[in-house]
Amino acid sequence: MIDNLVLGFQTALTPTNLLWCFVGVLLGTIIGLLPGLGSTTGVAVLLPLTLTFEPVTALIMLAGIYYGSQYGGTITSVLISTPGEAASVVTTFDGYQMARNGRAGAALSIAAIGSFVAAIFSLLLLVVLAPPFAQFAINFGPPENLAVMILGLATIVSFSGESKLKGLSMATAGILLACVGSDAASGVARYTFGQVDLLGGIPFVQVMIGLFAVGEVLYQIKQGAVAPLRARFRDLMITRAELARSRGAIARGSVIGFVLGCLPGAGSTLASFMAYGIEKRVSKHSDEFGKGAIEGVASPESANNAAANANFVPTLALGIPGGGTTAVLLGAFTVYGIQPGPLLFKEQPDLVWGLLASFFIGNVLLLVLNLPLAPLFAQLLRIPYGYMYPLILLTSFVGAYSIDNNMFSVWLVFVFGVVGYLLKRLDLPMAPLVLGLVIGPLFEKALVQTSAQGDGDLTFIFQRPLALVILAIAAALIAVPALLRRRRKQLERVAH
């Protein structure tokens, strides 16, 4: 193990590899910043340019783009409520509120620190325990996935804000929106009204750009001239107290992110939602969530980074893609004449360990890059909003178009921008809507697969112990806080 790591660092620390690692994480940060342009597209587009490189150098750079983008996506989420990456949507909930409270620097700092800690944690697990985790991942079949999605739906209560009824209604609306498109089992078109563009369903990234970025701009315009934030430089630094508060959130976020990231298909977006939902249930400051709680930034940011790294568990150990971007990276292996698969560790040790070692180096580079920049980026908020919003609108619409070169995406962003504005005016929470839209298709797929596997008999799920454990956690997540509350009331009554 140690020998392998030494070998890996020897490979990763050559000047060429170090340089391209830096280029990769820098490009990743920039790609992460741009809404619509995700790491999957970024890696696919830049892949042909690395064809003349040594395979290990090329993969180090391409992987750098991937995990670098997880850092970059945060910046716009916090500053202008425009998530650059799908996995950074959750960060807008509290990150943007922190920015409005003049704590943008702290939000960006904790995101960088949380991301870094989570990355190192998950990399250590990846180095030491990739094969057993990979085994765990493949034993995770449709029933277990279904249980995870039910757990995800159970966290909706966390996203509801003050009124449970409003939260559940919005979540239902999200799940209904997720029904548009061709059906998971038979491919029959549902609610598409003959529109080809709707066959693929209502895409989540466009919806979130509309709701969060455009919706916020419209709302701010309605409010009238917003005074630029007068944050002093001192206020932009993270405080010791904030760091202390975030410790638990980062730890929990890292674990949740790693476990979900190991599972092929679940991905970092779901991980960030789940981490946030669970954090809110267990946090002492749960009433501050949604109003600028630093845990609300620390937990999803740790989770999405841990998940991004954990995605490499099935990718490297089994040769199956953990998510969209790792699928492109697997394709890159083939282009360099390397056959991904279970034999990769054995046949290409210097490549695999060099790549893994470069992840450590790349994350250190990202921390060094992001921490000093956090207060600097936060200065952007001094720009009067009147100059900012045309820029935000432009980025949103151009970003939407660049996702699939389709005007339909631009219209979607426009429509959901108006919807986002109306929801804000009516004080309806948007987070459950987005969660419903994210989980809806995954839930349906898991349900259809479980049904097919169990021959239409859903009690099949009760024969799977792991699925039962996850369902029990979901039940506890719903029941325990309510029971505690009742118990507290009873005790109070007794005391009176």
Binding site: L27, L34, L37, T40, T41, V43, A44, V45, L46, P48, L49, I138, N139, F140, G141, P142, S182, D183, A184, A185, S186, G187, V188, V196, D197, L198, L199, G200, P203, P264, G265, P314, L318, G319, I320, G324, T325, A327, L330, G331, T334, V335, G337, Q339, G341, P342, L343, L391, T395, V398, G399, S402, D404, N405, N406, K445, Q449, A452, Q453, D455
Partner: protein, 321 residues
């Protein structure tokens, strides 16, 4: 930050350290027609998949092998299992500057009935290769041949995975079912990667996958191939021992194709121009590498021959829909 495409373009330029584009001034091969300005290669699926790899390889090879150089940009227009991309090409009737990286969705989407086009609405340029399928099972599976798998399905429920409802693997299963009078239980997934995962975890009993998707797992012994649903055996050393379904008494063969499609109603000169460009593509070293890397079979058909191939394959598919 204002324009992703410009941003990416700049990144790309900075990275490659090159910039100059060749202006298309000279006449192209005397045919009289040549593309004006930029040409787009549409990929009707997302980045990173088999179609994307094919689209980018074909665009790159045409750029390199055509004089004067044509600039081809690759555009992913995904959605609806390819329906969005093909429908876009349908709307570009007569536009010689658009190409599309095509495969069996061209036939399976119309067969499923959610779209308004058929293969007849487009101009087939060149079939560049075939990408056949292997019937793959987990290591511990009791079955040794496809015939045994089919026999098992006659007696009991056999859950198999399919990549998509409109996927060619689903139609190939239907062909086996029709030919052998059996029925498999379908577990729908969304990609070959998911199918491989499900096989490794024993969640499904079999799946049809392209060799390029599973050769790593086959070599390590974690998965086994029972038969190839191709007409002839593969010649690659890793695959040459896999018998065809026909050899095992199942009269089914279907080869997914990869190729280039242009919009319908383009000028005859434009068609001739692209066929010529595709012929050059087939001679390029990039093409050989693409075929080998992805375990394809270099079976080609150009222009009207490709149309004839499509007719035959379409009959195969519509006979089981």
């Amino acid at each position: 930050m204002k324009n992703n495409k410009i941003a990416i373009g700049l990144l790309a330029l900075a990275l490659a350290g090159c910039g100059a584009n060749t202006a298309d001034t000279a006449d192209a091969g005397g045919a009289g027609w040549k593309p004006r300005g930029n040409v787009t290669m549409i990929v009707p699926f997302g980045a990173g998949g088999g179609s994307d790899i094919a689209g980018r390889a074909m665009a790159g090879a045409i750029e390199k092998s055509t004089t004067p150089k044509v600039n081809i940009s690759v555009e992913n227009r995904e959605g609806g299992s390819g329906a969005v991309g093909y429908s876009f090409l349908l709307s570009k009737k007569g536009d010689g500057n658009r190409l599309l990286a095509t495969e069996s969705a061209l036939l399976t989407l119309p067969a499923a009935g959610n779209v308004t086009f058929t293969y007849k609405d487009f101009t087939p340029i060149m079939k560049i290769a075939e990408d056949g399928s292997l019937m793959v099972v987990p290591k511990a599976s009791p079955y040794k041949t496809c015939a045994e798998l089919v026999d098992a399905a006659k007696k009991a429920r056999v859950p198999v995975g399919v990549a998509a409802a409109f996927g060619i693997d689903n139609f190939t299963f239907k062909m086996i079912e029709k030919s052998e009078g059996v029925e498999f239980q379908r577990v729908p997934t969304e990609s070959g990667g998911e199918l491989t995962t499900a096989l490794l975890g024993n969640q499904i009993q079999a799946a049809l996958l392209n060799p390029g998707e599973v050769v790593g797992q086959l070599r390590s012994g974690d998965l086994r191939a029972l038969c190839a649903t191709t007409d002839k055996r593969y010649e690659y050393p890793e695959l040459k021992d896999i018998a065809t379904a026909k050899e095992q008494g199942i009269d089914v063969s279907y080869a997914n194709f990869r190729g280039i499609l242009a919009p319908g109603g383009i000028p005859a000169e434009a068609k001739a121009y692209w066929i010529k460009a595709a012929q050059n593509l087939l001679k390029s070293p990039e093409y050989d590498k693409y075929v080998k890397d992805n375990y394809l079979q270099p079976v080609q058909a150009e222009g009207d021959q490709f149309t004839t191939t499509l007719e035959q394959l379409n009959q195969q598919i519509t006979s089981v829909k």
